[in-house]
Symmetry: C2
Subunit: 582 residues, 2 copies
């Protein structure tokens, strides 16, 4: 490609709207442009990166036996009715009417689509297991898009769906796919991507993992043991929280006028926060009962954990809901409350003599002991872990990290196949419901993530495997000393050697050319200039390192071919080293 | 690929909904499945064909200097407001509101999108000309989808947009793109595709061409000279229609009670249809005037031609509209009518002494002569040509053909760049508006079209270049005489030789296997069976021909490689022979 006609205005200034470096470079390098909130067009260099990421994904999906298909972006309401998600999913599912007044959605994921596609096509056990995938446009009407392509409304996603006869078979394949994912990230130049246990969210199913690129600007919180391999999304992480056991003392009611918060009442009584049991009310569980979460005063309720227990997204309770249970807002405890579901975090029972509400205005109790005073409540982990809490697997401590989710995998079970009536016949003519797994990667987000992980202040430092081009040529003052001719010949030679080349054939100052080259982030650069050319040489430089040198003009193409091959070999070795799923 | 896990139920019976053979085979061969009216999923074999078509298109677009990008499916209303198409385009443009109540559309074409993308990125004359393209999902809310993937609502399209400084430069590039299109169709195995002059429709611009695959089931009518190279879509075709000149006679009013149609009145008066001038009324032109089309009694009005003249889609007039002009429905003529636009086809003036309405109930005139009786009307070609009418270029006669439009190209001029305020500075710092061309190909429609042009009753006969696989292996009774082992080894050897292979590893009867092989339509087939294997041979067969034979097992991979290479070489030669744009 000659740079003269490359469409895209690159620039120096950090754009005001960019919160992330990758977002800034996405715009400064003319990789992408926003069309509407969370909706982008990709310019040529951006689309080249995306296509290379797609090719890597496709290759690894084919390697684990995937069949590539293409499902529609627009799906009819009926499919989403079958699984109940037409009602269950919020306004991020974009719903509209077509010209015949038929309800349609813009698919944000394709479990419904794939079961619709496969349910009449795989009726014999002989066809199992199989995996179907696609790389395709999706739309999710996000309330807040952010970070360039990190969180957008329209995006390209690889989504894969596997179908199995047994849970064991799914489990085996799930591990195979996890390795394929590690290989994908390694091949895309981010081998440090970690797999973490995660919440399955709106997808359902019990086992789920996310692939996280650990970076300070990530929007997910991850807990990671400083000693063993334990790592999990904060939404599901388990841990050891220190307890404060004492001999139980007698329950004592005390006057605490106007002390409605746990901070106020513990300060008033001069006890530490952890010597209190605090109550957080939510509107209802899936059966409509109000939910009282009981947690130690120094901890917070983890609403993702709670959501799994109550089978819905927890919504803070209205005062009327609280009053109906007999509890008194500001002075609440489980004691005396009725017609509700109480869920107590284990930390409440492991500490003694806590301060808690008396369900009477201006009164609390001292010396609350859960197993004595409320023996029958449901005990479950609903606590948000903190940096320094203990690892659940070893004696280490948990560290808190931030990460960008670049992929996810789910064991879905039969949620979709069952509700949509998919079945196959076994060896004896008996019908069974297939068990599903699903496996997603956001392609554009992955481009932005690599940019976030691999850049300097001048631009991205692309791994060879997903760089928009492999080699960049600068011709400095092309009109002088045969520079233009040599550069042009080098361009031809490099392409002849099978390399992807961007050739800066503009008569621009070196400063402009080099700034643009940095923004395009191509790994290997040749600078053709009169000075080195006088010795028969061209300069070379490796993006993001101090490596540079000169090479005789006639050896440059060979040098480049060798360097690029070596760079790929290193990437391949990193991918081949990925043999452990978790 | 092993066939055991290939998802897709193939079957024998022609599905009731299929009107075209290609539609039937699309479903019978499990290439695609309908999800909703005009919305399809592609199964793996279908998507393989599509991906190969896309690769050919991409290759040829890159060859003419295209920069691949990706624009969004969902666009904001504002962009379509800028060009006026938000209002001008009918309900095939799907409009909806997002969660913040913002008006959005599902893009059916991307002139707005591409000018939005390029308008701030190509401000210098040095960057011109350039071409941007994408291969991407589009949605057009068609009232009537048909023919499998021939006319659908959601589809994948390659759309390209070029930007130029001068009309001459656009014209040169337009010719280059036309050759690229010929090469694409030749490489996809339909070199017979013809380029025809066409209407630019909603796209605007003056010059447009369509690439037509001539087939009886096409929905377009094409007129083609039997002598010279003239060929055009009936919407724009010109031709010589025989005239019937006579010496003008005196105008004579006659009583024609109840004879309201041209057929009735000519029969009543015992004159041929061509000796009448008939009137067709339309609601209005772009300035709101009612339109009277005047045409010879034996001809029909071509509403595409009329639409270009009146700058809007002609809508038949209500009786009230007609009455307001003073014309009398059933007895109308231009004589005495007022406050309207009369457009007369030249054939009316070239014949004499016609019967036409007297604008009075139950009365007509004889001996109407346009230049004498209505000297000032607008004369323009609005006639629908008929098989046998004369070629406009030579003395030949026009033949009527049917065709499927597989591609189109347009010289758009400055319609979009002007309304959206795109400009560049020339050498002297003067601002100019770039001139655009655009170039479309429907990918799924192309798959269906090739299927329509290349099939027998058993299935498609895919050209090697877009076949889902290059080689098909049947193992007949794989459990006997080492058949399974030899077939498995052949499968490995063929893949080792770089070939794409589908291996029927199911223990199915030969009849079932062969029917499935025909439906998959792979060019080269090997049949591994005990009988030929006894002689150390496997059978081979070429789909769609009588060619078959045997080859020693150990030479089969070499044989296949050679055959496939030769098939590609033939395709390439056909493409290279395409050097004339029109």
């Amino acid at each position: 490609m000659r740079m003269r006609t490359l469409v895209g205005r690159r620039y120096k200034e950090r754009p005001a709207e960019a919160t992330l470096d990758s977002h800034s470079l996405l715009l400064r390098g003319a990789y992408a442009r926003q069309v509407a909130n969370g909706i982008y067009s990709l310019l040529h260099p951006g689309y080249r990166v995306v296509r290379k990421i797609e090719a890597i994904i496709r290759d690894e999906m084919d390697r684990v036996g995937g069949q590539e298909v293409l499902m529609p972006v627009v799906l009819p309401r009926e499919l989403w009715e079958e699984t109940g998600r037409y009602q269950a999913v919020g306004s991020e599912l974009l719903r509209f009417k077509d010209r015949t007044d038929h309800d349609m959605v813009l698919a944000m994921t394709h479990e419904e689509g794939v079961v619709h596609l496969a349910r009449h096509e795989a009726g014999s056990y002989k066809q199992y297991p199989f995996m179907i995938y696609q790389i395709q446009t999706k739309f999710r009407d996000e309330p807040r898009s952010r970070g360039g392509l990190i969180r957008v409304r329209e995006f390209t996603m690889k989504d894969a769906y596997s179908f199995h006869r047994t849970a064991e078979d799914l489990d085996d394949y799930y591990r195979e796919c996890a390795i394929a994912y590690h290989r994908i990230f390694a091949r895309a130049g981010i081998p440090e991507t970690a797999v973490v246990r995660s919440d399955s969210g709106m997808m359902g199913g019990k086992i789920a993992h996310e692939f996280m690129l650990l970076t300070d600007c990530g929007e997910d919180s991850i807990l990671k043991c400083d000693t063993c391999r334990y790592i999990a999304n904060a939404e599901v992480a388990e841990g050891r929280i220190p307890a404060f056991p004492e001999d139980p003392k007698e329950l004592e009611k005390i006057h605490t006028p106007g002390k409605k918060t746990i901070e106020d009442v513990t300060a008033f009584l001069s006890v530490p926060l952890h010597q209190a049991a605090k109550v957080v009310f939510y509107e209802s569980d899936s059966e409509g009962r109000p939910v009282m979460a009981l947690i130690r005063g120094d901890l917070e309720v983890n609403e993702s954990k709670l959501a799994r227990l109550v089978q819905r997204q927890p919504v803070p309770a209205e005062e009327a809901t609280i009053r109906k249970t007999g509890a008194v807002p500001g002075y609440a405890s489980p004691m005396g409350a009725r017609d509700l579901r109480v869920i107590a975090d284990p930390t409440v029972g492991e500490s003694n003599n806590l301060v808690t509400g008396a369900n009477e205005d201006d009164y609390h109790y001292r010396n609350f002991n859960l197993d004595r005073d409320c023996p029958d409540v449901e005990i479950a982990d609903i606590a948000t872990l903190r940096e320094g809490d203990g690892c659940p697997r070893c004696k280490g401590a948990l560290q808190m990290r931030r990460g960008i989710e670049v992929g996810n995998i789910f064991q879905l079970g039969t949620r979709y196949t069952e509700s949509m009536g998919m079945s196959y016949l076994d060896e004896n003519g008996q019908a069974h419901t297939p068990i599903m797994g699903c496996y997603g990667i956001g392609v554009g987000r992955m481009m932005s993530s690599v940019m976030e992980a691999r850049h300097d202040k001048f631009g991205p430092i692309w791994p060879i495997s997903i760089a928009p081009w492999e080699v960049h040529i600068n011709a400095i003052k092309p009109g002088e000393g045969g520079v233009g001719e040599v550069a042009g010949k080098l361009y031809d030679d490099l392409r002849e050697a099978g390399l992807e080349v961007i050739f800066d054939d503009r008569d621009e100052r070196p400063g402009v050319q080099f700034a643009d080259a940095d923004l395009l982030g191509v790994p290997l650069r040749f600078i053709v200039g009169a000075k080195s050319l006088a010795n028969g040489n061209v300069e070379w430089k490796i993006r993001g390192t101090d490596e540079k040198g000169e090479v005789p003009v006639e050896e440059a193409a060979h040098f480049a071919r060798k360097w690029v091959d070596q760079a790929y070999a290193e990437i391949r070795a990193q991918a081949n080293a990925k043999t452990e799923p978790f």
